[in-house]
Symmetry: C2
Subunit: 114 residues, 2 copies
DNA sequence: AAAACATGCAACTGCGGGGTTGCGTTTAGC
DNA sequence: GCTAAACGCAACCCCGCAGTTGCATGTTTT
């Protein structure tokens, strides 16, 4: 489908890669952890993970590809942190879709009441 | 990671498959269309899509796997519609994560202001 | 300078996702 | 009853993702 039916809204086209990036338990966990613990190195992120350090690295780069995180080099470490701006965009995106569903749900509710 | 770091919150574990289901432009388009056009048959959903009918079928079943849609047979047709309850759950899930990010963003803001 | 630490790079595997084609089956519509 | 529409099923292909291992490189630390 992609851009069928009178051109899908832009925020939907943008949303797909975003969802895809978050559609992995490991990555979602990394984001959550960066959320509540702030910037962390790869080593620290890998410590409690049940996958390899390299796996974590790949996931971080996947998240970076979606623009959700950013890395900064500090000595021999590579520190990863959330990307506020992009995260804010993503947040709005989620809310728009949420709102879209909400109105759809209301309409469905009307049907039921008839 | 998955359930590392003092057990990841349940709503995170649940969210991953949800995001995964939505992490495809085609599927996202299908959901959006069911949102604003109501229940539709596979044929109608495939009409304007740029993939095959079978592809659409698979996507629908993927969405069904995430509990987002439901099918009803009507004659020779198979009608697909949104699953309100589950969609509501998903919506709340998005909002929780959104809120989580929001507080993280606020904290980041504080850092900047220092 | 040597040991320990943090990471990069590359190759490799396995598997599932997204897509297709071909054909069979059921249900409308004349 | 015959044709066309709507769909199911199954096999197949391709590619990228998630994960691994092994080794090299750069940085602290003592």
């Amino acid at each position: 489908m992609s851009r069928a039916r009178s051109a899908a809204p832009a925020f939907l086209t943008d949303a797909a890669p975003l969802f895809a990036a978050l559609g992995d338990e490991t990555r979602l966990g990394v984001v959550a952890r960066l959320c509540r613990e702030g910037p962390l190195s790869i080593a620290r992120l890998s410590e409690d993970a049940d996958v390899t350090r390299q796996a974590i690295t790949k996931h971080l780069e996947a998240l970076a590809g979606a623009g959700l995180v950013r890395d900064t080099r500090r000595g021999r470490e590579r520190i990863w942190e959330l990307e506020p701006r992009r995260l804010e965009v993503a947040r709005r995106c989620l809310e728009r879709i949420s709102a879209q569903w909400d109105s759809a749900l209301e309409r469905l509710q009307e049907f039921v009441e008839e």
